[in-house]
């Protein structure tokens, strides 16, 4: 989707502010949000692509006004409500109960869940899955599709309708555009594609600063051998 999250190349945000000796979390609730979200993943309540798309669907004004972990909280609640795990009314009621003191939830321990969550930080990921052989090879010139899908995609706006060169073939990976929408993993070839800065930014490009994106084959079309860009 052409959402506010798709920020590559935008103007107007100013200097990058840095914080010296930044803490891992700026408030205890941030860590809780991360842990809760990881637990939800380990329980397969939502997948990584649904989770990213959950953040992308925030109203743009809310997205811009929210801190990082506020966006995570918004996403987690949104997905759990959509999947019927909780309701917003239930959450509001629990907030009121807790604000009045005490916690009605009995303690719950789940060593197997903890084990799965810890293993996810150490073991191989599951994103590589078998798929059809790649259509392109390193060195091939490609042209990125201009589609503006309403759903989730990992082809950012700044790299649509652009010429690039296949830098590497990564193998076959779960396709986010379908996996975010309950349409299956549809794993297929993922490539590292190199874009010349001039092809992305024209006259305002900085010298010698190519951008590499990891793009699925369905984002790409063959562009032929010759430059050809003057006629297109």
């Amino acid at each position: 989707m052409n959402g506010i999250h798709d920020m590559g190349g935008m103007h107007g945000f100013g200097r990058v502010d840095r914080e010296e000796n930044e803490p891992v979390f700026h408030a205890p609730w941030e860590g809780r949000v991360l842990g809760i979200s990881r637990a939800c993943s380990a329980q397969h309540l939502f997948n990584i692509d649904e989770s990213r798309h959950g953040i992308e669907r925030m109203a743009p004004v809310d997205y811009l006004a929210a801190s990082y972990y506020e966006r995570w909280l918004d996403r987690t609640v949104r997905l759990l409500v959509e999947k019927g795990v909780i309701t917003r009314e239930e959450l509001d009621r629990r907030m009121a109960q807790l604000a009045g003191g005490g916690d009605p939830a009995p303690p719950h321990r789940d060593p197997k869940l903890l084990d799965r969550m810890l293993r996810a930080t150490k073991e191989r990921t599951h994103f590589r899955q078998p798929g059809p052989p790649p259509r392109f090879a390193a060195g091939d010139r490609v042209f990125t599709r201009t589609d503006a899908p309403e759903g989730h995609t990992r082809l950012p706006r700044y790299a649509r309708g652009k010429y690039g060169v296949i830098d590497a073939v990564h193998g076959t990976f779960i396709f986010p555009d379908t996996n975010a929408h309950g349409q299956g993993e549809q794993s297929h070839a993922l490539y590292s594609v190199r874009f010349d800065a001039n092809d992305l930014w024209g006259a305002s490009a900085e010298p010698c600063s190519p951008v590499h994106l990891d793009l699925w084959e369905r984002y790409l079309e063959p562009a032929g051998a010759a430059p050809g860009r003057s006629t297109s």
Binding site: V85, P106, L113, L118, D214
Partner: protein, 211 residues
């Protein structure tokens, strides 16, 4: 957030020592509900929080970099298959691509769409990495951004930007600083900052006292 319906966080007089923010209350309520439904265990959340606060951080990636500086065969394996090479050192949880800085080539990592970052090796990303400023500008004006970080590279140096748009995570292998011959792996790792593995800095030169 568009939450406007609760102001409990500003009430005084109950058992909280200081007013709790609406956000904090909302998160507590969410955790409480999920614990009640036996989907989340609070001790598991505690453990994940402490893992990121204490165990998982840039010291892991620094170890990988220092090993690559010392052992050319390891470096070759790391560049060819980052995922397998970090497993040799006990790290995982990430499909890793390592990109090497060398004379004339500097690498820099960003995630313009969200916040993809090699957690297992450098911890959770700093706020600036997830900021709108960095995400919007790193791909379009990397040289200006790097100068803001104090890194002024000549135009003859190619800057390769890696926008982490899929499930691969990128780690920059910084150049080994001059004057570090004879340093141990631990001493070398001490020169490798988080920022140098994101590519917005270079590795620190050795302190004279380290020799």
């Amino acid at each position: 957030m568009s939450d406007t319906h609760h102001d409990h966080g500003h009430e005084h007089g109950h058992h909280h020592r200081e007013p709790e923010s609406v956000l904090s209350l909302r998160v507590r309520a969410l955790e409480s509900l999920l614990v009640e439904k036996k989907l989340v265990a609070s001790d598991a959340v505690d453990r994940i929080v402490s893992a990121y606060e204490e165990d998982i951080g840039p010291h892991n990636g620094a170890k990988v970099v220092a090993r690559a500086w010392l052992d050319p065969a390891y470096k070759q394996r790391l560049l060819a298959d980052g995922t397998a090479a970090i497993e040799e050192l006990g790290f995982g949880g990430v499909d890793l691509k390592v990109v090497e800085n060398r004379s004339g080539v500097h690498n820099m990592v960003v995630c313009t769409l969200c916040s993809c970052y090699p957690h297992a090796l450098i911890g959770l990303p700093p706020v600036w990495y997830k900021s709108f400023e960095y995400r919007s500008r790193a791909v379009r004006e990397p040289r200006v951004v790097l100068r803001e970080f104090g890194l002024d590279l000549p135009e003859s140096v190619e800057i390769r930007i890696w926008d982490s748009s899929a499930e691969l995570r990128y780690l920059v292998l910084p150049e080994r600083p001059a004057g570090t011959e004879g340093l141990s792996e631990g001493e070398l790792a001490g020169l490798v900052s988080r920022d140098s593995m994101i590519g917005v800095a270079v590795a620190r030169p050795p302190a004279p006292a380290a020799r």
